[in-house]
């Protein structure tokens, strides 16, 4: 990364140094403000997902989930919900979390301490068929990734290496279709899928996505950088066209192929409108659609909604942390190439 870094270290006077130090501090401060803004929503999601329904309603909110505990008769403490507090009398009305009648206790006897309610995750998971949603998303993603790799490589090869009538025009038509937002053609697409008998099936989620125009574009750009001479020489040596693609082009394009895999995974995992419209039943419903429905049905149980949001994004986030360099580079190169 140091390759392009500007060097300002030639001026050696003290004033400049001081300014530079100040500048460094400013740089870090600005970057940290950014970091906080980026991180807080994630933190807030996790924090909320571990709170009790009563604590959700607290304002000002607590940063770390806090439980209320009251003295129990046997000397231990029991977890309670605080129903109301009477400031003048110094008492509080509480209700045990595990059930039981309301009690009036001294406010001072109610102790707050951190209490992470992991059971919210279990509750949210059981509230809707999330296991099925997960399976559906993974299943669909695997097929789409495999398919996109095959179709894109073949098509990109044709666009990059072969000459045929209307090649560039066809390519431009392909590209311009990327400019049309999905809601524009979702109803005609639905009709196509009905005619195929694919509504509410895995086919509806997989097959239309097996060709990815952007991947074709990306691979084509890369294939074009592989010298023509190499190709001509190979062909003259009796190498078949397909063998050239398989043995030479693809191994030389590993980085781009990884990029294709990564953004296909991210795109498929996160796609929403298409599966929303094309599926009806939980049997094929993918995770994001299931999550959106879950949030509609929960309405006001924010702790369960945040728990569900957290476990829905977890696989990609975890994968991201393990392969962040690769992922960032892939998505960035995909941008740069165009």
């Amino acid at each position: 990364m140091s390759k392009g870094t500007p060097r300002h270290d030639i001026e050696i006077n003290a004033g400049y140094r001081a300014r530079r130090t100040l500048g460094r501090v400013g740089v870090y401060a600005a970057l940290w403000v950014g970091i906080i803004i980026m991180i807080v929503p994630f933190f807030w999601m996790l924090s909320t997902s571990l709170k009790s329904p009563i604590e959700i309603l607290q304002f000002p909110p607590t940063w770390i989930p806090t439980g209320h505990f009251a003295q129990a008769e046997d000397g231990g403490s029991i977890e309670v919900y605080v129903i109301s507090k009477d400031r003048t009398a110094g008492t509080a009305v509480v209700r045990p979390v595990d059930g039981g009648p309301e009690l009036t206790v001294l406010s001072s006897e109610v102790i707050d301490r951190a209490r992470l309610r992991f059971s919210n995750y279990v509750d949210a998971w059981n509230e809707a068929p999330f296991a099925r949603y997960y399976f559906n998303t993974i299943f669909v993603t695997l097929f789409v990734v495999a398919g996109v790799l095959v179709t894109s490589s073949l098509a990109a090869y044709a666009f990059a290496r072969m000459k045929f009538w209307g090649r560039d025009n066809i390519f431009v038509v392909f590209l311009s279709m990327m400019m049309v937002p999905q809601p524009v053609y979702i109803v005609p697409s639905y009709i196509v899928l009905v005619k195929l008998g694919w509504i509410d099936t895995y086919q509806a989620l997989i097959i239309p996505w097996l060709a990815h125009i952007f991947s074709i574009f990306l691979l084509r750009q890369h294939f074009k950088t592989i010298p023509n001479d190499l190709y001509d020489a190979a062909i003259i040596d009796g190498c078949s066209r397909f063998a050239f693609l398989w043995r030479i082009m693809l191994p030389l394009s590993k980085a781009v192929l990884v990029a294709v895999v990564i953004f296909t995974i991210v795109g498929t995992w996160n796609s929403f409108l298409w599966p929303l419209v094309m599926t009806n039943t939980p049997e094929v419903r993918p995770l994001q659609v299931g999550l959106a429905r879950f949030s509609q049905e929960q309405g006001t149980s924010h702790e369960l909604m945040m728990a569900a949001a957290a476990f829905s994004i977890a696989p990609l986030i975890v994968a991201y942390f393990f392969a962040q360099k690769q992922i960032i580079q892939s998505l960035a190169t995909s941008g740069m190439k165009s």
């Binding site: 400031r87 639905y190 009709i191 005619k195 195929l196 509504i199 509609q296 006001t300």
Partner: protein, 426 residues
């Protein structure tokens, strides 16, 4: 030119090939008729419906009703539209009257008269037993195209404990009590200068306004349905009342949060659909009761909710099976159990006397009185134009007044202009 033809032929061939690969309708060999039923019931309502569907399937081994929830009415309407456009709708679906109107025009809704009058139909006594007006509301030019399915009316939910603190022992019965009680129940309980208990709360709702309008002797549209009439003096008065109620002695919350606040004892009374009962079940610890809507110049109550339609594209066996299900579902006994479990209104008057309903009346104080509002209930205009126009009433009329962006007369005038444009076919 030849090239173009070749290309077109090639593309068509490929399309045909793909189409050929797609699975067509699977014919059932076991003699069981499968009926896809699309609806919008989610959460506890969906569970209640699925339980009844399972029960029906048990009772009718030759029929398999497949209940498919689209989660929301908007999603349901979109899917029905797309499916009808593609020529492959379900056999049975929930539909608002406005949707049914469009389906009739499109030739997609099956007239039900022959079923009603036929062998497996309904007797005149049974037809008379339906809630007055409900079947008429499902008829177009004398032909019944849909059947009432999940219907609801509005009610006052009140916290008896908080009322008792103020020495009040009944829910408001008229507008002046409504406002007076709300005022008295709005208070700063801990003396910190901020109000902690509100008299009432609600959400932005055209339905609430329409009910007030009706109670104030106003009308939504003119007699011929060609123009907005809600911007009348009666309408302005009704909206002013609503704004006062919900902004001075209450608050407007997003979505259904006013129900949470009511359950938490922060709001003394709310107005809501009877269906809210199933969402509130077991979530409050105080003595709760329900009551009919307060009277204005007169009583008034609009019924909301959807009906079910059978689609013309289905096979005869499927249509017959769907009718069987409708008949069973709207029988006094099933209707009563559906109503008791969900809070929807029964569609048969005799259902009120059934064991299930009576037991429910014992559990929820005042519920019978609320459901008796059905006896004089009214129905909203059914045209597709009004269905679209209603959004303007809610967004421009009610919302802008409740958010105090415009005065009630301004808001209603603006909404009326938009609605009139919609009615004129803009």
């Amino acid at each position: 030119m030849k090239r173009y033809v070749t290309a077109v032929v090639a593309v068509l061939a490929v399309v045909a090939l793909i189409a050929g690969c797609g699975g067509g309708e699977e014919e059932s060999t076991s003699g069981v008729v499968t009926v896809q039923f699309w609806h919008a019931m989610g959460g506890p309502l969906g569970d209640a419906l699925d339980a009844l569907v399972d029960e029906f399937n048990e009772l009718h081994p030759a029929i398999d009703i497949v209940s498919i929830s689209m989660g929301r009415y908007q999603a349901l309407s979109q899917k029905i539209m797309a499916a009808v456009a593609a020529g492959q709708p379900p056999v049975l679906a929930q539909a608002y009257e406005a949707w049914t109107g469009e389906l009739i025009e499109n030739g997609s809704a099956v007239p039900l008269n022959s079923y009603i009058e036929g062998g497996g139909g309904l007797t005149l006594a049974e037809l008379d037993d339906f809630v007055p007006g409900m079947l008429d509301n499902n008829s177009w030019d004398g032909t019944v195209y849909s059947f009432p399915f999940n219907k609801s009316v509005r009610a006052i939910y009140w916290n008896k404990d908080l009322f008792a603190v103020e020495g009040l022992d009944h829910a408001p019965t008229n507008w002046s009590e409504y406002e007076d009680f709300a005022r008295r129940l709005t208070k700063d309980t801990d003396g910190d200068g901020e109000i902690d208990q509100w008299g009432t709360a609600g959400q932005i709702s055209a339905w609430m306004f329409e009910n007030l309008l009706l109670q104030n002797d106003g009308q939504i549209l003119t007699e011929d349905g060609a123009a907005a009439a809600f911007d009348s003096a009666e309408g302005v008065e009704a909206l002013e009342f609503m704004v006062r109620l919900l902004t001075k002695w209450g608050k407007v919350t997003s979505g259904y949060e006013y129900q949470n606040d009511f359950q938490a004892g922060k709001v003394a009374m709310i107005e809501g659909s009877t269906v809210s009962l199933s969402f509130m079940e077991g979530k409050y610890t105080f003595n709760m009761a329900v009551a009919p809507l307060p009277e204005g110049r007169g009583k008034g109550c609009y019924v909301a909710g959807t009906n079910v339609v059978i689609f013309a594209e289905a096979s005869q066996a499927q249509k017959d099976a769907a009718w069987e299900f409708i008949k069973w579902f709207t029988s006094p006994e099933t209707s009563a159990r559906w109503a008791a479990r969900t809070g929807y209104a029964p569609v048969r008057m005799s259902a009120m006397e059934s064991g299930a309903m009576q037991a429910r009346f014992g559990e929820i104080e005042g519920l019978e009185g609320v459901l008796r509002q059905l006896e004089f209930a009214s129905y909203e205009p059914r045209s597709a134009a009004w269905y679209a126009g209603r959004k303007h009433l809610e967004e421009m009329g009610v919302e802008s007044a409740l958010r105090q962006r415009m005065t009630p007369p301004e808001a209603l005038a603006k909404a009326a202009r938009l609605v009139n444009a919609e009615l004129a076919g803009q």
